[in-house]
Symmetry: C2
Subunit: 594 residues, 2 copies
């Protein structure tokens, strides 16, 4: 996660993570690549001992005081020149936006007047798509041996060579979601050879929340480390909300087009058609959605497999498709039209996230026939997508007890040719509503260790309500913990440097450094100050847990200090003793009769 010894940041802008007046903090910095418009943002933490630690940064231009951001204008189109320079895409008039895109079909009071203020006021833009016969996906470029600026960008972020990035994408083991209509993103990569990523879901519902809230949730989630954001809106103004989110998002945005399609038929699943769905996909692709969850694996024949389940079908997309299949007694229109869908996604470089519509919704239903039947179909669909040069990842469960987790990732990797796995949790028990960020954080850490590339967060509100700002933060932080724990367990190069820097700070009682290096500096500082608010406590060689006399680390330091001069000297002295001890055959145990 750190790349202390890597490139020197090209420029370091000064910014404090706290309110003005705090002298120590972190700075937004950039690592420049092979061209001046390729500047990779990092979070540079300056320590009180003069060192600094560089951390991966997902927060976008919002944390750069030199960039004047305005959500009404949107973010600068970072990738625009790269996309244009490739010369394989063209602008076109695009599909006209219709009132029903925002769920305004009727003039009933509920339908109401369109809130004109809500329309995104930013620069006018025309959608872009691949020219006829042109393969414009990162997968196509990688297969051709081309290293795109996007690939170089993520190579710098991940501290690997661009060739590794290209290889992993070409092999289908990684995806770089980057719709040609979403030039605002800072490219990132999802694959098991890279840092484990975290997705945060946002989105309004029929019951509550506004456009402003969703944009705010997106910037808030990325502020805490979300690598991608899914807009799962199901309420009003779906199109317009998404426009605001896309134009302001520094991370790839995912959606489930089926949700909006269902809104267009007033929530009646049986009235869905391929045409309505396709139109919705084009609508969203033109806006710039980077990856789409497609539940094409929910086939007619699998629905009966869920009959004896404890919790039936718990995926919204899965249940909608199951309802459609049964209503018409026909095969899924997503499955039947999958090749045409591939052509559409390929034209915009939209990445597939093949949805697990039959994922288990309870411990009892984990790893059952329905789930694995669908997974085998996703394996087939993955191969089709690859024929069309569409980048593809595979979604995974759900609710799975710990002893059944490994089977999920192992089977997925086998069946889906190592395509990136993207799992929701899994939740390792059903008994803790209000704490499902934790029940699932446990499963997430484990499945990521074993090879899952991206984790979809779960917030404390899961199963109970719509997450608010605090829930989003708690969900993201919990999943960043799971992801980083997995990076450590996988031995990801450089991952442990972050832990080491924080542990050094802890041992040396550099409290400010501990706070600034923490995943959540604000809460760490707040918790410390709750018991010891006075400023001198920030340099005290103890904390309120044990008090001054009982601090083990202080005693540990005293031992080193008292039995020699400097810490280095005593360490050398103790190391020498340790060596002698080893040379004596480690015979330290008293002979004790059993």
């Amino acid at each position: 996660m750190t790349n202390k010894d890597a490139r020197t940041p090209a420029s370091v802008q000064s910014e404090t993570s706290q309110e003005a007046g705090k002298s120590i903090g972190w700075h937004k910095a950039y690592v420049e690549g092979s061209r001046s418009d390729l500047r990779v943002p990092v979070r540079q933490v300056h320590l009180t001992n003069g060192q600094s630690v560089t951390l991966y940064d997902t927060s976008g231009p919002y944390t750069d005081p030199l960039v004047d951001t305005d959500v009404r204008r949107g973010l600068p189109p970072l990738r625009e020149n790269w996309i244009i320079a490739r010369g394989d895409t063209e602008e076109y008039a695009g599909r006209p936006v219709r009132p029903e895109d925002d769920g305004i079909k009727h003039t009933s009071p509920r339908g109401g007047l369109r809130n004109l203020d809500a329309v995104f006021p930013g620069r006018p833009r025309q959608p872009r798509r691949g020219r006829d016969g042109q393969a414009v996906t990162q997968l196509a470029y990688a297969r051709r041996g081309e290293i795109t600026p996007e690939m170089e960008y993520v190579a710098i972020r991940e501290n690997v060579s661009p060739e590794v990035v290209r290889e992993e994408i070409a092999a289908g083991r990684a995806v770089l979601p980057a719709n040609v209509n979403h030039p605002e993103i800072e490219p990132m990569i999802i694959g098991k050879r890279f840092l484990v990523k975290v997705n945060a879901n946002i989105g309004n519902s029929a019951v509550t929340s506004s456009i402003e809230e969703e944009v705010e949730k997106m910037t808030w989630a990325t502020r805490w480390g979300a690598d991608t954001v899914m807009d799962l809106s199901t309420g009003r103004n779906i199109h317009t909300t998404r426009e605001w989110v896309l134009r302001n998002s520094p991370v790839p945005i995912g959606t489930v087009p089926l949700y909006q399609a269902l809104e267009k038929v007033d929530g009646k699943a049986e009235e869905l058609t391929w045409e309505i769905y396709k139109d919705t996909v084009i609508e969203q692709a033109e806006q710039g959605v980077d990856y789409m969850t497609v539940h094409a694996g929910v086939r007619l024949a699998y629905v009966p497999l869920t009959a004896n389940r404890k919790t039936g079908i718990v995926s919204r997309g899965g249940s909608i498709m199951a309802a459609w299949c049964l209503a018409h007694h026909k095969e899924s229109f997503l499955y039947e039209n999958f090749e045409e869908l591939c052509e559409i996604l390929a034209a915009y470089d939209v990445t597939y996230s093949l949805g697990d519509g039959l994922r288990p919704g309870s411990i009892a239903d984990a790893n059952d026939e329905a789930q694995f039947a669908e997974l085998r179909t996703l394996g087939e669909l993955n191969r089709i997508a690859k024929r069309f040069n569409v980048q593809t990842m595979i979604e995974g469960p759900g609710h799975v007890p710990m002893h059944k987790i490994k089977e999920n990732i192992d089977l997925q990797q086998e069946i889906c040719d190592e395509a990136p796995f993207y799992t929701l949790g899994p939740l390792t028990t059903d008994v803790a509503p209000a704490y499902d960020h934790i029940t699932s954080g446990i499963g997430a850490a484990m499945i990521a260790w074993w090879g899952t590339a991206m984790l979809c967060y779960v917030t404390p509100k899961e199963h109970l309500g719509l997450p608010n700002r605090d829930d989003v933060k708690t969900g993201v932080i919990t999943y960043k913990i799971a992801a980083h724990a997995a990076d450590l367990a996988k031995g990801h190069p450089g991952a442990q440097e972050w832990d080491d820097a924080l542990s050094d700070a802890r041992f040396e009682f550099r409290w400010e450094d501990q706070f600034n290096l923490a995943l959540d500096p604000d809460t760490a500082r707040e918790f410390h100050d709750e018991t010891l608010p006075a400023e001198p406590a920030k340099t005290a060689h103890f904390c309120s847990m044990c008090g001054p006399k009982f601090c083990s680390m202080k005693i540990s330091q005293d031992i080193r200090r008292e039995h020699g001069g400097s810490r280095t000297e005593i360490e050398e002295g103790m190391a020498q003793k340790s060596k002698e001890f080893a040379e004596a055959g480690n015979r330290v145990y008293l002979p004790i009769a059993d």
Copy 2:
């Protein structure tokens, strides 16, 4: 965890978990054993569908409205008659309580006047110990083939036969911590064949908190499911605080006698002596401490092994002993006098918790030579303890990345003859101060799955400050999740019934049942009501996450309903289809060219 089909509770007292006026809730009930004074408390959750679920209960008489509790009087001495009836213990005058037991050595302003109000006002009691030559530990009884009332009690709690309990204790694979001077406890067992247990730490520090707060934290922790509580007080009034806690605790109480001993020598580690330590152990054993952490594995020769560590020695007990060893250049007095210590603990049936004084305090230090050298010594000490019939468990780390966790439990089980492992976390990363309940909950769930018998909780304040009431609750709930996830993964008989009951309630939109079955009903209800506060929402067939049109479980139910009559009929119909499908060879995939 549930024993739905087990014994009928002897009596069910009515009590609501919420304020008066809520009609549905849970009740404290008792399962009677072979004698009328052997009544095992359970939490009986009454569901709106007429069924009920019985859950393990640690909350003590406080949640029984028929028991008139008063912290100034203490809990009724449940086990007193059992202990007396065995006829192998005797009351004696006991060690006089001295001012310095409470840290009042001087008459300085800081030493101050003793707060007489703080003296525990309950019934006068004399300490009790084993008569000369009598082995009065549960281990001794088990080895002799005796099934004590305590063993029968835990057998009912665990839904196993008393003989299994006796066997596991006799083999040293489980401990039943129950000091003869702590008759108030409701017996419980710690061992890998039983439900995974959770310990909560309380205790004041030199910096903050009062006796009342500590008693309140203890009852609060057990209210949320703590199976044992350690009083780690290091501030003033250590003796008196412990007396209050013991007399009011329904769960076994553990301590680290070294902390109090150090207070008696004004915090100067080098002034500690075996006599002061021994006197402290007797003082605490007479009060009724059920298990004691003893850092006898920190030997002189191991201290240099910590020299090159990133975070040195982070166990308070470990660092105190290391400081003593180095100051005197002598072997640890705990190690040297271990046999005499065994004799003392045996006389009261105090259980050893052999401390891991050299546990790693950072990811960098995990599984190092210092840690495993100490573990090997703990293996030797375990065998000595068993010779003296002292029940023994072994403490474990600490900070350990996921890929190094399994080695810890495997080595411990091998070296320590399968003695119960009792671990602190482990924390799977160092980078998230303020969220270490989560970094460690991940490791705790994993290590418990692999055989750890008890988990010491970590609160959000770990590394930062002293936990308050909310932190204690969060820590306990997080660790109950880890423990239950492990019970599920181990396939503990009955564990999944709890998850199944909650998932059934979820699928059938029985919101009140979901809340009442939740580990934390209050927060689950509060989160739900935050978005949908109206009473009808409690019976609504959707929640605020998706709203009515998008609820997958509603659609799932509708599918079942629309394609047949009753849910049973449609399930049968779908199952039949599923059977036909299987008989047709599961050939559901379209032939697709790769």
